[in-house]
């Protein structure tokens, strides 16, 4: 069957709530309104106000409350209407959730999921368009996940809810309504995907495109175009940004000898920067036939107008251009 990302996320929460009374959902408009983006649709009707809880617009407060509930072995799914608003709560996420297991020398589990849409949407300007992938991925103690398709959405969210550690789960608003196939296996209530493992979405031999979230689709489109040009691109969907699946990246580079890292967020200190660094400090470096390329969001706040918005975000043609450079270029031998 085909399901939308919205439905896949909803199934994940529904199944985990059904299986475990400790799981609850809290956030703004998640209950009676059915979710600002309808991701929690039906859960309030099914599980009632004990387990599906509308909050006031107080992110710092309810993120802290969810964290405390997790200290007591509940399994909160804390929804941020978007991750832009999670900035108000980021101290709770990093200091009260992520660091506690370590600070308590293992006395305290914090089994919580912080989820919601992250990054650019459409026509919502600078304050509502930031990508927080790299910030969260920097923090030991957190796991950070970013699904692309419906199987990712369902399998990773279920795994995140079951995980005994704090997980930041970065969705993409523009994908909520997109449909993807869900295999028989993925329809099962037992279906989970492992956190920390990347997934090869498309095999290829000439160049590796490493990316996550919505940009996986762009990379698949670029791979399609490149195929027409006779270039075989492998598309690696990171799925997890922390732990980062270094081996998957390294192995793919060893196979294709070329790497383009793609993300929507701002360039400086982004995920793509980390990928450059990972390659620099692994033996994959020696397999490179061209320097690693980054394709990233432009280094500007997001504007409202459509043409500016488009210029601010990676387009398929940018990915194709980067690949073309890596495949044309040969490394200067040094020795």
């Amino acid at each position: 069957v085909d399901v939308t990302i919205r439905e896949a996320l909803n199934m994940a929460m529904d199944e985990e709530m059904e299986a475990d009374d400790a799981v609850f959902v809290m956030g703004e408009e998640v209950a009676q309104y059915q979710g600002a983006y309808k991701v929690t649709k039906g859960l309030f009707q099914k599980y009632g106000e004990r387990r599906v809880i509308d909050t006031p617009i107080t992110e710092m407060g309810f993120a802290g409350i969810c964290t405390g509930a997790a200290y007591k072995d509940l399994k909160p799914v804390c929804e941020f209407m978007t991750f832009n608003f999670a900035m108000q709560a980021i101290d709770q996420i990093v200091n009260s959730a992520a660091k506690q297991a370590y600070m308590s020398n293992g006395d305290m589990n914090v089994p919580i999921v912080f989820r919601g849409p992250n990054g650019a949407a459409a026509g919502v300007a600078a304050q509502h368009s930031q990508c927080f992938a790299s910030w969260f991925s920097q923090c030991p103690g957190l796991k950070v996940v970013a699904p692309y398709n419906a199987e990712d959405a369902k399998g990773l969210l279920k795994a995140a809810i079951r995980d005994p550690n704090p997980v930041v789960f970065l969705e993409n608003e523009l994908l909520y309504g997109t449909s993807f196939p869900l295999s028989d296996e993925a329809q099962s209530k037992d279906f989970v995907l492992p956190l920390g493992k990347a997934h090869i979405e498309r095999e290829g031999t000439d160049v590796t495109l490493v990316t996550f979230s919505k940009m996986v689709g762009y990379c698949l489109d670029a791979a399609e175009e490149l195929a027409a040009q006779g270039i075989s691109a492998e598309v690696l969907n990171l799925r997890s940004l922390r732990p980062l699946d270094r081996d998957a990246i390294i192995n793919s580079v060893k196979k294709t000898n070329r790497l383009v890292a793609v993300e929507e967020g701002w360039p400086q200190c982004g995920i793509a920067a980390e990928i450059c660094a990972v390659v620099m400090e692994s033996d994959a470096f020696d397999y490179l036939d061209a320097p690693v390329e980054r394709v990233t969001g432009a280094d500007v706040p997001m504007a409202y107008a459509i043409p500016l918005e488009k210029m601010s975000l990676p387009q398929v043609e940018d990915i194709v251009a980067a690949v073309s450079r890596t495949t044309e270029r040969k490394m200067y031998g040094v020795a």
């Binding site: 309104y33 006031p56 617009i57 108000q88 919502v124 432009a298 107008a305």
Partner: protein, 371 residues
């Protein structure tokens, strides 16, 4: 000079730890016509936004102010131009009150380069520093500490003992629960800042009614030890008189005050919200019938002045035509699409001029911009 009219509105005020102002206002036909015209322009502009949104010439989040026009209008009538104003994303009409034009607002919403913010901000982000208007802010609650900073600056710049320009920070009943607002109130009270914490209580924050979001629905008492005043926010005169009273109090160095405007939004929260699942149509209809801020002024004009239905109809017609023309002009523009527009104004010099950056990385780094 023009004949003065006295309008009484008993029950419009409820005070917390302070005096209620007299529930009466002096006005006259000219003034009432002006309010009528302003509010009707606001209303038409918002309805135009609605239509244009449906026609897909406007996109993104879009929050309309219809129903709440008396607040923007009455506050503007009470404040001086030196007073600073900041509000939330529900800001089209405040932009208008503070030096903006219908064309500038609509063009912005259409993402045109002749929009008030050059197509950078869209619906949620209007500014007019010259007119002491500081946004148009998108993060719930965040404008309130910032507004308190405007009050801080106004105090800082005023010689001790003199009356100070004030600052007003407007926010919703939903926002009112944000902790940073309490933090700001505390500092404003400690430092006796000329700050007005103005809650536009339109009964809902998105789909959440006030009783589900706040343990205290008497918003004007939210300052606890800080005085508060609740006022009828559907009556431009009660807003004006109440705000004059409040302005006077805070500008004299007595510290901040918390204002609750009792009001209602006719539209859903934003264009994606039909606004009818968490409240029923009867409630909305009743509001429109009994408390509409424009009808209120219209009735005053008809009852207390020699204005006629025809005269008012003519004004409405003019306003509609003006808004329609402004909309056409807005549409006639074109969106910013140059690299200069994309990368300009990230950093400014002391005169507010763009400072080109040494290197701005573009998605394709070969297209990156160098100064």
């Amino acid at each position: 000079s023009e004949a003065s009219i006295t309008v009484d509105f008993p029950g419009a005020y409820t005070a917390h730890l302070g005096d209620e102002p007299a529930a009466t206002a002096e006005t006259n036909k000219t003034e009432l016509l002006e309010y009528f015209k302003t509010m009707y322009t606001m209303r038409r502009m918002e309805i135009t936004c609605d239509n244009e949104y449906k026609a897909r010439t406007i996109r993104g989040f879009c929050h309309l102010y219809d129903g709440q026009e008396a607040i923007g209008t009455g506050v503007q009538a009470a404040l001086s131009p030196e007073d600073s104003w900041i509000t939330s994303y529900r800001c089209h009409c405040i932009a208008l009150a503070r030096g903006g034009t219908v064309e500038g607002v609509l063009a912005e919403l259409m993402g045109q380069s002749h929009g008030q913010t050059g197509g950078k901000g869209g619906s949620m982000h209007f500014y007019n520093k010259e007119h002491n208007f500081f946004g148009g802010q998108g993060i719930v609650g965040a404008q309130v500490p910032v507004g308190t900073g405007l009050a801080f600056a106004n105090k800082y710049k005023t010689p001790l003992g003199e009356p100070m320009p004030v600052a007003i920070g407007c926010y919703g009943d939903g926002a009112a629960n944000q902790g940073q607002i309490w933090e700001s109130m505390n500092m404003a009270a400690l430092w006796k800042l000329p700050m007005i914490f103005c809650i536009e209580n339109n009964q809902y924050g998105m789909g959440t009614s006030i009783s589900r979001s706040s343990c205290n629905n008497d918003y004007y008492t939210m300052g606890n030890v800080i005085p508060g005043l609740k006022m009828d926010g559907m009556n431009v005169l009660s807003v004006r008189e109440g705000m004059k009273h409040v302005r006077d109090y805070v500008s004299q160095g007595n510290g901040p005050m918390v204002v609750e405007m009792s009001t209602y939004r006719y539209h859903g929260h934003s264009m994606s919200d039909p606004g009818t699942t968490y409240r029923n149509r009867d409630e909305i209809a009743a509001m429109r019938q009994t408390r509409d801020p424009i009808e209120f002024v219209k009735n005053l004009l008809l009852e207390h002045t020699d204005a006629t239905e025809d005269e008012l109809k003519a004004i409405e017609k003019d306003v509609r035509a003006e808004v329609a023309a402004a909309c056409d002009r807005a549409k006639a523009g074109s969106p910013p699409s140059s690299i200069d527009e994309l990368v300009g104004n990230i950093y400014l010099d002391a005169e507010g001029k763009d400072v080109p950056q040494p290197y701005i990385r573009m998605p394709d780094y070969e297209k990156s911009i160098r100064a």
